[in-house]
């Protein structure tokens, strides 16, 4: 009897010990991977940040003296400031175009049934999966020597906005289609029953209830356009160059600490807009 008892405890402790070792190994592996991924993402960012405060004229480690010299240099150079301005204008334009078009199309998909629905879906989504080189080249060739009212279309900021919308709009559309699916249909029906017109219902009932989705998809559109450079490389002239294009050209010739400053400013622009949105969102949450 005693024998049988000890045998059974033996049988249960052995797998338990193995499970404990397994768990420890897994935990160490998970920790190692987390460190790896943090380093993978952080190293280029930290190196760039450090280099932007370098005092020397060349990109070289170790950094001997620290200064804000290259920041003054960046904001003192009309070429780089203009590029930053161009980038922000184009990103804002892309956000407006792609959010408007994407939200409207997503509402049509949610609310109505029509012919060739999956074909239209494919047509709207397809540009998102196309390489930037192909899209940029195609637009540049097709609109290369078109002029509207005597103004050259090629090289204009509006053309770049529309080209960036090819990536931003499908993303907005995809996010909003999922968001609209969460809208309670009974509320929409109730609005109609109370005499609300479709347009009125859309603006006063539907839009406020999906504002978070709209804001976050608009933010995606903004960030994508701000960071995109392949299409912009094909579509801009010297006067409308965006910051990433200028950075790319400068990286190709010779990297200076100014390039690091530009990287930091571009990232800062993204994070500032992100935190503004977060602040707005938190205020919105408190209100309700």
């Amino acid at each position: 009897m005693a024998d049988a008892h000890s045998l059974s405890t033996d049988a249960t402790t052995a797998p338990a010990a193995r499970t404990r070792i397994d768990a420890t190994v897994l935990r160490i592996l998970a920790l190692g991977f987390t460190i790896f991924i943090v380093a993978y993402i952080a190293i280029p960012v930290l190196v760039t940040l450090a280099m932007s405060f370098n005092d020397a004229a060349a990109v070289r480690f170790p950094i001997k003296a620290w200064s804000l010299k290259w920041y003054y240099d960046f904001f003192g150079s009309p070429q780089w400031v203009d590029a930053l301005k161009s980038s922000v204008i184009i990103a804002l334009g892309t956000t407006v175009i792609s959010t408007t078009a994407g939200v409207m199309a997503a509402w049509a998909f949610e609310r109505f049934n029509f012919a060739c629905k999956s074909l239209v879906y494919l047509l709207i989504m397809l540009p998102l999966f196309m390489p930037g080189v192909v899209l940029g080249l195609g637009v540049a060739m097709a609109f290369g020597d078109v002029s509207l009212f005597g103004v050259n279309v090629y090289g204009s900021r509006q053309l770049v906005m529309l080209a960036h919308s090819l990536w931003a709009m499908p993303l907005v559309f995809m996010l909003m289609e999922a968001t609209f699916r969460t809208v309670d249909h009974r509320i929409v029906e109730a609005s109609y029953d109370l005499g609300g017109r479709p347009v009125q219902t859309f603006f006063e009932i539907v839009l406020p209830s999906v504002s978070t989705g709209i804001i976050s998809s608009a933010l995606f559109a903004f960030v994508i356009s701000l960071n995109e450079f392949v299409m912009a490389l094909f579509l801009t002239t010297r006067d409308t160059q965006t910051l990433p294009v200028l950075m790319w050209l400068s990286l190709r010739s010779a990297g200076t600490p100014r390039l690091a400053v530009a990287s930091v400013i571009l990232a800062a622009a993204v994070f500032v807009s992100l935190s503004l949105i977060m602040a707005w969102y938190i205020r919105q949450l408190r209100k309700t």
């Binding site: 991977f33 987390t34 408007t100 239209v120 080189v133 192909v134 080249l137 060739m141």
Partner: protein
Amino acid sequence: MNVRAVSEMEVQDGARRAPRWRMRLTPWLLMAPALSIALAFFGLPIVFMTRMSFNEHIDQRFYVPGFTFDNYAAMLTDPTFSSALWTTMRLALISSIVTVTIGYVFAMLVWLKPKRWRLLFIALALCPLLISEISIIFGWWMFFPKNGLLSYALTSSGLITDKISLMYTEFAAFVGLSYVIFILLSIFDGIDKKVLEASADLGAAPVRTFYEVLLPLTKGGVAAAFAQSFIWAIGTYATPSALGPDTLWTIGYLIQEQMLGKHNWPRAAAFSIVLTMGVAVVMVVIRMLTSKRTALNG
């Protein structure tokens, strides 16, 4: 008076019983901006490029109208172009495998960890999307200079330069990591964590649980993530041309060079069409493989 009466009638009638033609027309009106952008700036350029790819290139002019298959034939006969095709495929394949592996482990970790860590992990996963590709390239370029100490040490110790540069390229192959993580995370979130306990209770070791339970459940997500990553990697040229060896030419790089450097429009168009075809083939294959609804197959 008349207008007022009509509008009042409509209000009473309710939007749901609006005239049939209006019900038909409304979705198309709503989709008009999106459709016209897609058609004018994607459809039209593709048609234009297809025609352009058969034109001829004579005497340094952008293009001369004509009809020739030379531009496509060049991809097979000219060693520069055919090796670029091969390089592009290989790079895209390797970088997708690496990206999906990293993304998979990351998504699994987020799924397994307690909820309070989640926001932090999500912020981390968003980073590659928020930071410009060029900033990342520049960062790695400074960290692993081509003529730097690390490179020198590795080269002089007998390793081949080409391989090292290739390693940098794949290391910096950030393209699409965020997307891959989010695609996989959404798949993981649909799985009940109790399956792990059940598997452990039945005596399976973690490795076996992974192969026999988790992997089959996430198969569809892995395929979708791989396709996404491959499609993004196939068109890239910034990272390989900035970080890779000088001879690491991808199709994307050649398109850019033919267009902006050599001003050979027909050839650039032909390469673009081939690249578009490649993307289309991957999409069709993935559509056949995955039955689950993803962004690719609505």
